[in-house]
């Protein structure tokens, strides 16, 4: 299975390698989707991890032990169905094809393949899409 996490670091552990821990100790497949480091050494990364669920859970406990803040990401892109009028403007700006239209031409979001890039947010004319990280 695939899970996404937000991992927060600071000056004390910014030079450490979370992906190394995930690969070497747990044989998982991490993919860093987004990362930033501020001038004071603090920052966050969004990482997608593929592997068995129990292994992912144990691996994340280990990442916490070595000093990172780990926050699982669920519904990180939020679509307000009361606001959305299914125009479709967001569909073609999504790089992972996570937004599409169903058989009735209503806009739908596949939350699991969304990589939280935020490209759709400013394509929406009614502020129905929000990135919650």
């Amino acid at each position: 299975m695939e899970k996404k996490f937000k991992i927060t670091y600071n000056e004390s552990n910014v030079l450490g390698s979370v992906p190394y821990v995930l690969v070497k100790e747990f044989d998982l497949t991490p993919n860093i989707l987004k990362a930033n480091i501020a001038g004071d050494g603090s920052g966050t990364m969004i990482v997608s991890v593929v592997g068995k669920e129990d292994v992912i859970d144990r691996a994340m406990e280990r990442v916490k032990e070595i000093g990172y803040v780990v926050c699982p990401m669920e519904n990180h892109i939020h679509k307000d169905d009361k606001k959305c009028w299914s125009c479709g403007a967001c569909v073609s700006v999504c790089p992972t094809n996570s937004i599409s239209v169903d058989d009735d031409f209503h806009v739908i979001v596949n939350y699991s393949s969304c990589v939280a890039c935020g490209s759709c947010v400013d394509a929406c004319s009614v502020k129905a899409l929000k990135l919650v990280i």
Binding site: W85, S86, C87, G88, A89, C90, V91, S92, V93, S100, V101, D104, F105, H106, S119, D122, A123, S125, V126, K127
Partner: protein, 383 residues
């Protein structure tokens, strides 16, 4: 066998009218054949639900005691027109608050009024011998004011272009967010459901045509602005923006579901309106034209990174556009609709049920719109 408006209305009144949407009629005619279908079917309903900037509302607030002649008027901080009579105004859809970051404009005022929300009215006037008051600060709702008419100088564009971006940076346009190097393309027509693509030469649509406007009843009042006829046709319909309609309707009957204020990033405010037009099946030629389907309607791809002189790069059918991607010189380009096709379906479906229930009759236009028209352009004074 030809039918008359009166024969169709007689069937509507007795709830016997046979009505299909412009989408449903395609298969009905394939199954029954044009002759039989033309005899059986009385009305085809069309629908569209997209952005139209050329929209607004005429309002009359009623007089305060003592009265004021308003010349500077704000509704929820949106400046609206002070150039009409004392307590009349026109709310232009694209009018914006002083702080554009709010993303709130005239279109949102119109949506909020129809949704029944309370609107802050702040107005000033010069103070005259007959209108002594100089300012008023109050709140209004749609129920509190005398008249509220939605008015579109232009709506129901008969087809429109496809936008892409060949430049190296993302551009934000009224055709939506266009990613660099042709990563995506956008289009806006409802295609096979769109009113003027089902009656391409306006045989049945003209001044006085009774329509569905944002959930209420409305009428076609005139040809729309930027009306033209000199556009290439394929399969009997134009391949670009062509004829347009001016529309009016009573806001007090409307439903905010079909009237949405839009904040289009980098462009500004617009108003999405659900419009449905019934087409009376007076003869089989009119029905034949209602059978047009997305694979027979084409539009032109143009480059919106160019400030002017956007030439046709390629043309695609709405069936291709709606498939999710098109191909240009071997490269796949993902597509987005900018108008709500599910909304257009809902409009055509609701109008259909009004007619089937005997609540909505059709009328013959009192004036036909021009058979030929060209656009003029604006030139600068020689510097």
């Amino acid at each position: 066998m030809a039918k008359t408006y009166e024969e169709i209305n007689e069937k509507i009144r007795s709830k016997r009218a046979v009505v299909y949407t412009a989408e449903e009629i395609i298969d009905i005619v394939k199954k029954k054949g044009i002759e039989k279908a033309a005899e059986e079917v009385d009305v085809v309903t069309t629908g569209t639900f997209g952005a139209m900037c050329s929209s607004g509302a005429f309002l009359n607030f009623g007089h305060a005691t003592p009265p004021i002649r308003m010349t500077d008027i704000r509704l929820n901080d949106v400046p609206v027109d002070g150039g009409l009579a004392a307590v009349d105004t026109f709310v232009g859809a694209t009018s914006l608050t002083e702080d554009p970051a709010k993303g709130y404009g005239g279109a949102h005022v119109i949506e909020d009024l129809v949704a029944g929300k309370s609107i802050h009215l702040h107005a000033w006037g010069p103070g005259t011998d007959c209108y002594v008051r100089k300012d008023i600060d109050t709140h209004i709702t749609l129920d509190d004011i005398n008249e509220a008419y939605l008015y579109n100088p232009r709506n129901c564009y008969q087809n429109y272009g496809i936008a892409t971006n060949t430049s190296g940076r993302t551009i934000y346009t009224y055709m939506g967010k266009l990613l660099p190097r042709m990563k995506n393309a956008t289009y806006s027509s409802a295609g096979q459901l769109s009113p003027l693509l089902n009656d391409p030469h306006l045989e049945t649509i003209g001044m006085g045509t009774h329509i569905f406007l944002a959930g209420g009843e409305g009428y076609v009042t005139w040809q729309g602005t930027q009306y033209k006829t000199n556009v290439e046709e394929v399969n009997g319909v134009p391949i670009g923006g062509c004829r347009t309609l001016a529309l009016i309707g009573d806001m007090k009957q409307m439903n905010a579901k079909y009237l949405r204020g839009l904040d289009i990033t980098g462009y500004g405010i617009s108003l999405a309106i659900g419009v449905g037009i019934p087409i009376p099946i007076l003869n089989k030629d009119i029905l034949q034209r209602c059978c047009i389907s997305d694979d027979q309607i084409f539009a032109q791809l143009t480059d919106y990174s160019l400030p002017t002189g956007r030439k046709e790069m390629a043309r695609y059918s709405y069936a291709e556009l709606r498939s999710g991607s098109i191909e240009y010189e071997g490269k796949k380009i993902r597509t987005s609709s900018l108008s709500s096709y599910s909304g257009a379906r809902a409009v055509a479906g609701e109008l259909k049920s009004w007619i089937e229930d005997g609540d909505f009759e059709l009328n013959k236009p009192v004036l036909q719109f021009p058979k030929t028209a060209k656009l003029k352009t604006l030139t600068e004074d020689w510097l």
